[in-house]
Each structure stands twice: as structure tokens, then as C-alpha cells.
């Protein structure tokens, strides 16, 4: 009888103690699950709100909303097509990527491999400082200062040299076009890409680099055979991070891309004005009147959302593929 009581007491004691443990554990678990459900819930909620808001325009235009080029909000003549802005978004961010990726990776390699520790730290600090500059500052600077340099030292020489033969340079430039937008976007995303690339390159094991040197590789050969293959997935990830920013950037693009609408917003040359999905939303949302224009703008938001989602999925896919093929290069 006594021993039974003791047993019960012990069980009770352990029970109460483990109960305490369990409460803490459960709380933590609930918190973590809650946080991840929140993230998922937000994505679903945004998707739902955008889909619901854009229903009227999809009913009205059907597939023409995606492949159409009209953009007319005059009462009685409403007609909306997103194609010019999808094209504008892709072109401006492609230009930005072509410029930004090599420069950023170059910066990362330089800072990690070419300069001694302290100078490298200062340099990377300066580059990261650029990442903290708000995009409207880049926009103002581009509109009032930088665009004239681009016209004078890049666009005009290109136009004068190749304008007669290459159609992409044919239009007389004046600085408010997809090319300028691409360059300024590149400047904006370089700090992000180079900061992440720097960490990626830092993570390349010394053994890999020393092995390359031991085999008689020059510095460039070491970068080519040790750093780039090893860091490939990380560098790709860094680039996609930059691409994500370039696609969604709004205010900077609005200030310098020239904001054409409709068919004339599909740039026929590098020096033509264009319009991106986010810039037309920023331009027209405030004064949108009538249910169709508002719905069309929300529809553009949906297209942008899906485009970003798509790019992220592709990037995850590519990164995982590269990582797999790289797994035999590990230490």
C-alpha cells in the first residue's frame, strides 16, 4: 500500500516536471508553426485578393488581357492589355542583370582574393553602404544628373557609331528610356548581389584554393577552377535575389523609363521609352476611375506576383540542380 503511494507520488512528480517541459516545448512548437503558417497564409491571402480584384478584367478581356497591347481607360472605350508592361519589365531587368552580375561577382572576387584583409573590409563596407541608399535617391540622381552622363558618354556614342546599321541603337536618345532604366537598376542591385556573392566566395574551402595553387594554377585559373565551380549555386542564388529586386522596383523605374502606354510602350530600340508592370501601377492607381481600370491594374499586380513566384521557383530549381551536380566536388 505504502509503496504504491510512493510510486504514485514519484509518477506525479515526474509528471508535473515533464509537464512543465512539455508546455515550454509546445509553446515553442506552436510559435514556430504559427510563424510559418503566417507566411503561407499571407501568400495565399495576397493571391486571393489580387485574383478577386482582377476578376472583372479577366471576364471582360479574357486571354487578351495577357497578350493584348491596348491600354485605354477613356470612358466607353475601355480596353486593357498587359503585354507591353510584361515586355518592359523583362527587358529592363535583363539589361540590369547583364550589367550587374559580372560586376558584382568581380567585386566579390576582388574583395575576397585580391586585396589584403583590411582594405577588403572597408571596400565591402562601402559597397554595402550603397545597398542602404533608398531607391528614390537613385531615381532623383538618375533623373537630374546621371541621365545626362548616360546620354553624353554612352548613348550618343553608341547611336552615332552603330545607329545607322543596328536598329536597336537607331532612335535618337535623350535619356528617358529602357536602357537608362536598366543601367540605374543595375547600379541599385550591384550591392545586393555582390554582398551575397562575397559570403559565398568566402565559404569556398581553403583546401580547394590551395589545391588549385599547388597544381600550378595562376590566380585567374584558381578562380576559374576552384571558386566559380564551388560557388556556382550560391552565385546563382545571389543573382536571382538581385533579379527579384529589379523586377519589383517601382519608383526609380517610374522616374526614368519614360512611361509610354499601350503599343508604343513596347520598346523597339534600346533608346525607346517603356513601362514596367510596377511603374504603370504606381502611375495610374491613384486616379484610377471606373471599375475596369482599377481591376486591370490589380490584374497587372497578379501578373507581377505570378512572374516573381515563377522566377523564384526556377531559381530554386536551378540552384538545387547545380548543387546536385556539384556534390562530388565537396571536400
Amino acid at each position: 500500500m505504502n509503496s504504491k503511494d510512493n510510486k504514485a507520488e514519484i509518477v506525479h512528480l515526474i509528471g508535473s516536471k515533464s509537464n512543465k517541459f512539455i508546455t515550454g516545448d509546445r509553446l515553442f512548437k506552436a510559435l514556430v508553426i504559427g510563424a510559418s503558417i503566417y507566411a503561407l497564409f499571407m501568400v495565399v491571402l495576397v493571391f486571393y485578393a489580387l485574383s478577386e480584384g482582377s476578376l472583372p478584367i479577366f471576364f471582360k478581356e479574357g486571354i487578351n488581357f495577357i497578350i493584348g497591347t491596348d491600354w485605354n481607360s477613356v470612358e466607353g472605350r475601355e480596353s486593357f492589355g498587359a503585354l507591353p508592361y510584361i515586355v518592359g519589365t523583362l527587358i529592363s531587368s535583363s539589361i540590369a542583370m547583364v550589367i550587374a552580375v559580372p560586376i558584382s561577382i568581380g567585386i566579390a572576387i576582388f574583395v575576397n582574393e585580391m586585396v589584403p584583409g583590411k582594405i577588403g573590409t572597408v571596400l565591402s563596407f562601402v559597397v554595402e553602404l550603397l545597398a542602404a541608399v533608398p531607391s528614390i535617391i537613385y531615381g532623383l540622381w538618375a533623373l537630374f544628373v546621371f541621365r545626362f552622363w548616360i546620354v553624353d558618354y554612352i548613348e550618343m556614342p553608341l547611336h552615332n557609331t552603330f545607329g545607322d546599321n543596328l536598329y536597336v541603337f537607331a532612335r535618337t536618345p535623350f535619356g528617358l528610356d529602357v536602357f537608362t532604366a536598366g543601367i540605374v537598376l543595375a547600379i541599385m542591385i550591384i550591392p545586393i548581389i555582390s554582398a551575397v556573392s562575397r559570403e559565398v566566395i568566402k565559404a569556398v574551402p581553403h583546401s580547394q584554393k590551395e589545391a588549385a595553387y599547388a597544381l600550378g594554377a595562376t590566380r585567374w585559373e584558381m578562380v576559374k577552377t576552384a571558386i566559380l565551380p564551388y560557388g556556382k549555386s550560391g552565385l546563382l542564388g545571389a543573382s536571382f535575389l538581385g533579379l527579384g529586386r529589379a523586377i519589383g522596383e517601382t519608383i526609380l523605374v517610374t522616374m526614368i523609363i519614360g512611361n509610354a502606354v499601350g503599343l508604343s510602350a513596347i520598346p523597339t530600340t534600346l533608346f525607346s521609352p517603356g513601362q514596367t508592370l510596377s511603374s504603370i501601377i504606381a502611375n495610374e492607381f491613384n486616379e484610377a476611375s471606373g471599375s475596369f481600370q482599377l481591376s486591370a491594374l490589380i490584374g497587372l499586380g497578379l501578373v507581377l506576383f505570378i512572374m516573381t513566384l515563377f522566377i523564384n521557383v526556377i531559381s530554386i530549381f536551378i540552384v538545387s540542380k547545380v548543387t546536385k551536380s556539384n556534390s562530388n566536388v565537396r571536400e
Binding site: 491596348d70 491600354w71 485605354n72 481607360s73 477613356v74 470612358e75 472605350r77 533623373l143 537630374f144 541621365r147 545626362f148 535618337t172 535623350f174 535619356g175 528617358l176 528610356d177 517610374t254 522616374m255 519614360g258 512611361n259 509610354a260 502606354v261 499601350g262 508604343s264 521609352p273 513601362q275 511603374s279 504606381a282 502611375n283 495610374e284 491613384n286 486616379e287 484610377a288 476611375s289 471606373g290 481600370q293
Partner: protein, 365 residues
């Protein structure tokens, strides 16, 4: 233990106090009325001046105006989240019926100038006619030395350069007025482009806001665009002299805009009728500047339609607007706005007298 209880007591009493303080303040301010408005950005500097000046006339009334754009103003007015809306374009027929026939009260007037940057051509020396402006913005006239521009500017030496057209990229009342004018003077513009706050521009580059257009014009030689007169005056931009309906070339100014409004005032509808067809552009009269427009305050003719308006607030709203369209007009000119001419003020007074609250006319002191 005793300490903790003391702290608890202190906490409770602090909490009670913190709840009490706002209540006391509220009861002191019981007579204060806050009028909320939202809408057009164009009249914002003027309405903001009224907010400050009216406070001196009637210290118990606070005006709260959010310049979120005409579209947003109309939306909030229809959703009854603000007491009055402000818009540069009159309500469309659909909006008008949706709101149950609200009243329009023109509170100020603005005009739009055609600004340019052509080396060697001084302010006001370039002359343009409506059809020529329309064809430039349609992309049909592409060079500055086009015969049609030369014809009306025989004394100028115009360069043989391409015309860089700049327009607003954001939806805007300024664009509405400008395209309204072009639709009246060019059938092709009316058919191909039309009148709206944002239109399918056939050519040119878009820049956001008056500031964006101004920066694009001043930074680009051989360019042409349009901005509000008030903005052009403060930014010291070059602007063109424009041919009016009577065939005279008129410099945009407060006086020439006044002339246009006075000549159109006789045909204005009743304040409670639909104003969707009201337009001051291309007004007759020898001195009338052809590109100008009212900016409106919209109110429900039965103010209790908006549940947040009570008797006291209704009286304050009517009193504030009566002040704004009379005494308040003296703040217009220094800010670059055109004061309302007498017939429009009379019309507004009639409109305000016709307003009701729960079916009874609203008395103001």
C-alpha cells in the same frame, strides 16, 4: 510581497489615470468639430491655406484634407469615409447617379499651359493653335520647323530638330483638362485618343507629376509638354501663347483665365444637376485663355446621407465652404490660383442654400 502589491496598486492607479486624462481632454474639446475631406492634389496648397486661415475665423473647426488624387477622393466620398470630396474633373454620369445626385461646388480654377524648351526661343514668344498642339501630341507634326508651326510664328527661327513630346504618366486632372481641350479642337484627337485622366498617348514620354514633366522638359532640348499654370509660374518655365476660339493669341495668366470663366459662367448648370458636361476649355471671348477648368468640392445634397455627419458638423461644413468661396478666395492669387468670378460665387451660394440635413435647410450664422 508587500512591495509587489504596492507596485500593482500603483500600476492600476496609473492605468486609471491614463484612461481618465483623454476623457477629460475630450470633454473640454466637446465643441470641436473636425471636417474630413480628400481628393485632388491640384487645389491642395489652397485648401491647406484655408485650413490655417479658417481656424482664425472659427477656432472650433478643424479641417483635415488628404490630397490623395481626384479618383481616390471620389471613391472615399462614395464610400462615405470623408465628409467632402474634391475633384478636378466633374463626376461622370455613372458616379453621379451612384452617389444619388450630389452637388458640385466649384471652389477654384486652374489653367494648363503648354511649356517648351527650344534653344533661342524666349518665354511666351512661341505661338501655337489648338489643331497644331493636337497634331504635335498625335505625333503628326514631328519637327520644330514644320510649315504649320512656321506659319503662325513667322518671326521665329525654329530649329530643324525632332519635337520631344512629354506628357503626364500618372492619372491627373491636368491631363483631363488638356485632353478635353484637344478633343474640342481636333476631331482626330477626339476619335483616336479622347478625354480622360489618363489616355492612350500615341507618342512621347511620360513623366510623373508636374515636377516630373518640368524636369523632363528642362533637361531635354526641343521638348514640349503641359503643366499647371500655378506650377509653371513657381518653376519659371517657358510657356506658349495660345490661339483662342475667337482667333486671338492669348498669354496664359490669371486674368485671361478669369475672362474664360466669366464668358462660360452663363451656361453653367444648377449646382445639384449633373456637371459631367461642364467644361471651360475653348471658351469664347476675345481675351479668354482656352485651357482652363474648375476644381470642385462634392457634397451630398442631403448631408445626413453620410452617417458620420451630425447637425453641428453639417452646419460647420456649410459655413466653411461659404467662407472658402467668398472670403477665402483672396488667398487664390498669391498662390497662382484664379479666384472665382462673381456669378460663380452666386451660383455656389444658391447651391449651399439648397443643402438639407434630415430634410431641413441648414442654417448658418
Amino acid at each position: 510581497m508587500a512591495n509587489i502589491t504596492n507596485f500593482k496598486k500603483l500600476g492600476v492607479s496609473l492605468l486609471a489615470l491614463s484612461l481618465l486624462i483623454p476623457m477629460v481632454i475630450n470633454s473640454v474639446n466637446a465643441q470641436q468639430v473636425t471636417i474630413n475631406g480628400a481628393g485632388a492634389t491640384f487645389p491642395f496648397p489652397l485648401i491647406d491655406t484655408w485650413r490655417v486661415e479658417y481656424k482664425k475665423v472659427n477656432p472650433d473647426v478643424n479641417i483635415n484634407y488628404a490630397s490623395i488624387g481626384s479618383g481616390g477622393g471620389i471613391k472615399q466620398f462614395l464610400e462615405k469615409t470623408v465628409d467632402f470630396g474634391a475633384t478636378d474633373a466633374p463626376l461622370t454620369k455613372t458616379e453621379f447617379t451612384q452617389a444619388g445626385n450630389p452637388v458640385h461646388i466649384p471652389e477654384t480654377i486652374g489653367s494648363v499651359v503648354v511649356s517648351y524648351n527650344v534653344p533661342g526661343i524666349q518665354d511666351n514668344s512661341l505661338k501655337l493653335s489648338g489643331p497644331v498642339i493636337a497634331d504635335i501630341f498625335l505625333g503628326k507634326i514631328t519637327k520644330w520647323d514644320d510649315p504649320r508651326i512656321k506659319e503662325i510664328n513667322p518671326e521665329l527661327t525654329l530649329p530643324s530638330n525632332n519635337i520631344n513630346v512629354v506628357h503626364r504618366s500618372d492619372g491627373s486632372g491636368t491631363t483631363f483638362v488638356f485632353t478635353d481641350y484637344l478633343s474640342k479642337v481636333s476631331q482626330e484627337w477626339a476619335d483616336k485618343v479622347g478625354t480622360s485622366k489618363s489616355v492612350p498617348w500615341p507618342t512621347g514620354i511620360g513623366a510623373p507629376g508636374n515636377e516630373g514633366v518640368s524636369a523632363s522638359i528642362s533637361g531635354t532640348e526641343n521638348s514640349i509638354g503641359y503643366v499647371e499654370l500655378a506650377y509653371a509660374l513657381t518653376a519659371k518655365m517657358n510657356y506658349a501663347t495660345i490661339q483662342n476660339k475667337d482667333g486671338n493669341f492669348v498669354i496664359p495668366s490669371i486674368n485671361s483665365t478669369m475672362a474664360a470663366v466669366e464668358s462660360s459662367a452663363t451656361v453653367l448648370p444648377n449646382g445639384s444637376a449633373s456637371w459631367s458636361n461642364v467644361s471651360l476649355t475653348n471658351a469664347p471671348g476675345p481675351d479668354s485663355y482656352p485651357i482652363s477648368s474648375f476644381s470642385y468640392i462634392v457634397l451630398y445634397s442631403e448631408l445626413s446621407t453620410n452617417p458620420s455627419i451630425n447637425q453641428q458638423k453639417a452646419e460647420s461644413i456649410v459655413d466653411f465652404i461659404s467662407w472658402a468661396i467668398t472670403d477665402g478666395q483672396k488667398f487664390s492669387e498669391p498662390l497662382g490660383y484664379v479666384p472665382l468670378p462673381a456669378p460663380v460665387v452666386e451660383l455656389n451660394k444658391q447651391t449651399l442654400n439648397s443643402l438639407t440635413f434630415n430634410g431641413n435647410p441648414i442654417s448658418t450664422n
